[in-house]
């Protein structure tokens, strides 16, 4: 998918004034934050499971080659095939090659963020293959020609009336006076539209929340049933999975499953958790004839070797997005790529490079809420700070900022002189402000005063008062530099 993170500031500028987006985000956070809290409170052992899950993931990453090999052996033993793709070109070509091999004209798709990375739908389209998204949120944004704005609820930026308008335009064979004002009626309409499409598709493409080495299985965790219809009714089942999804055993998957749905939507278990392990077996009355797992690297091995290794623990639950006040203010499209929110601020630069994503690691207050709710305790603020450090090293940080910081630090590393300078400035400001005690405008602080007054300083330095005070310690004359 094309990167537009370079336009972050423009996107943000639009987004903060978008009342429709604000309403939509309010609904998302209003539902998912209390849901998660309730689910976590309902499992007293949640923190133990987090610790255990983290150890499983880090162990798996340490031995990832071994587990991927075991996975491949078992997929093949089950009658399936595994394809290895180092980058997005390779992955696209592989999937296209499979479509050619099986004479695929139409493809149904379950939700898969890694296929968004690949820009798969546009690519297939260009090659005369019709992809049809079946997850409700993905279906809606496909009709609108938009990209997902949330990793599990792709249409989160839309309100009901937006979706109704989209359906009105796209489903023009239906009665224009039909009821379309409830979530129920819109869901029902999508259900009916897609009903026959699963069986008519030549191939079904799904993603993978996890892969299990022990059994050669890929797992999808869903609620709608479209992922299962996609993979069961088409003749060919293609799974596209990024390689860090691998886990050793079913029990390890069980640990992750106790964390995933609770962190994502607040469910103890999603409606459908499905292990797919190959094509139909002799005697089966349904299921695809062939099963192909396309394993994608696309930058993960670089992360494994580098300082972003911990990010590979990510379960793609979206808890960080749902709790991030920055994400809530600007929505997912502002981030300019597949992954948004706090995880996107680390993953996007890690996968597509720092040059195009300058703002992403910087647009954070490091409030730490993301890390607090992350089931894998990923230290997202620390990882963002590391990326900021890389930007400094590689001189990607704008010159003006580097110069200002250098000036400030050369001043602040000389405390007495620093206080002399700041004392003078604040004294002047205090006098200027007078009785009003705030400034509605100040030079160089345009970005502050656009939305806030700037409080006037009291004037002078703390140390002036301290020395003049009757404090016992000040009269002792503690002074050393």
């Amino acid at each position: 998918m094309e990167v537009s993170s370079q336009k972050f500031n423009d996107h943000v500028h639009q987004a903060v004034d978008d009342a429709n987006l604000k309403g939509a985000m309010g609904k998302l956070t209003g539902a998912l934050r209390p849901n998660r809290a309730r689910a976590v409170a309902g499992l007293p052992e949640f923190d133990d499971y987090r610790d255990h899950g983290i150890a499983i993931k880090m162990h798996t990453l340490d031995h990832i080659d071994r587990y991927l090999e075991e996975f491949e052996t078992n997929v093949v033993a089950n009658g399936g095939h595994v394809h290895w793709c180092a980058d997005e070109d390779s992955a696209r070509e592989t999937i296209l090659g499979l479509c050619r091999q099986y004479d695929v004209k139409t493809v149904t798709k379950g939700k898969s963020m890694v296929t968004e990375e690949l820009g798969l739908n546009a690519f297939l389209d260009q090659h005369g293959i019709l992809p049809l998204e079946t997850d409700l949120g993905e279906y809606i944004i496909q009709l609108r020609g938009e990209s997902p704005s949330h990793i599990i609820a792709p249409a989160t930026h839309l309100q009901r009336h937006d979706i109704a308008q989209t359906f009105r335009d796209a489903h023009d064979h239906l009665d224009p006076n039909r009821p379309m004002d409830t979530a129920e009626s819109l869901t029902e309409e999508a259900r009916q539209e897609l009903r026959e499409k699963y069986g008519a598709a030549d191939a079904g493409i799904t993603g993978a929340n996890f892969m299990i080495a022990e059994t050669g299985s890929t797992i999808i965790v869903t609620n709608e049933g479209n992922g299962d219809l996609t993979q069961t009714l088409a003749k060919t089942h293609i799974v596209v999975a990024s390689m860090e999804k691998i886990l050793p055993t079913m029990d390890d998957a069980g640990v992750m499953l106790r964390l995933l749905a609770r962190s994502a939507t607040g469910q103890d278990m999603s409606v459908y958790t499905t292990l797919s392990s190959g094509p139909r077996r002799p005697g089966d009355l349904d299921g695809p004839d062939s099963f192909h797992v396309v394993i994608v690297d696309n930058g993960r091995s670089t992360m494994l070797a580098g300082s972003e290794r911990e990010m590979l623990r990510c379960l793609r639950c979206s808890a960080c997005l749902n709790h991030c006040p920055v994400y809530a203010s600007i929505g997912g499209h502002a981030y300019g790529w597949v992954y948004s929110g706090p995880m996107g601020k680390v993953l996007t630069p890690s996968l597509v490079g720092l040059e195009q994503t300058k703002d992403l690691p910087n647009a954070s207050t490091f409030c730490g809420k993301c890390q607090e709710v992350c089931p894998m305790r990923i230290p997202l603020p620390k990882l963002m700070r590391n990326l900021r450090a890389k930007q400094t090293e590689q001189k990607i940080t704008p010159l003006k900022q580097r110069v200002l910081l250098a000036l400030w630090s050369s001043l602040a590393s000389r405390p007495r002189f620093y206080r002399f300078v700041t004392g003078m400035m604040t004294g002047a400001l205090a006098r200027m402000a007078g009785p009003k005690r705030v400034f509605t405008w100040l030079p160089f602080l345009g970005d502050w005063v656009q939305s806030r007054d700037f409080v006037a300083p009291e004037g002078g330095s703390f140390f002036d008062r301290y020395r003049a005070s009757s404090s016992p310690s000040s009269s002792k004359g503690e002074a050393h530099d």
Partner: protein, 223 residues
Amino acid sequence: MINARNDRAEIFARLREANAGRQKTPHPGAIAPPKKGSFSGKSRFDQFIEAATAQYASIAEVSRFADIPASVSDWLKGQNLPRDLVVAPILSGYDWDQIKDIRPRVGAATTSDMVGVSLALSAAAETGTVMMVASEHTPTTLNFVPDVDIIAISKKDIEAGLEGCWEKLRGWKKTNPMPRAVNFITGPSRTADVEATMVLGAHGPRRLHLILVDEKSPWPKLP
């Protein structure tokens, strides 16, 4: 050749290099199931009912598998639901023909089928979840295509939590291939993609009805 490139060697070289010389994290082993996933006896059964009901499944109880056709018929009638059913082969041997007003056929489901009836291999009381396997006895489509999904489960097959389900699967694999699909199902399908509002009945079944049977299940004996 699907793709002229074969990146396998390249990828594995990078992975091995990334991990070379690292202090390895040991696997932490097993973790005790949570309290909610550790019940036995009546508590386990009560937990299953509570959890499944909370997820909008409806529940009926019968003593024997032979009672299923009548139970299904009564329930469909009471709910004013269609009477055409598609039944899993493993449940086809019961006296469906003796029950008036239902029209069963045996096999996989198509989009014309409104009601599917199948049998679970296992279940997890912790979350009110049933575990289905794709097999000659139990086609997967029965659980996803029809509007109404009816699943029978022997009470003896209800485990405390997922751990028991994994063990059941390992037992299955000793004498069968790994099932093409293993479906853990908790309630009817749903979505919250429109304004984060939950709507029951998305693309999968709108209704899930569980029939709990006192008797041992008709699954072929597992090791």
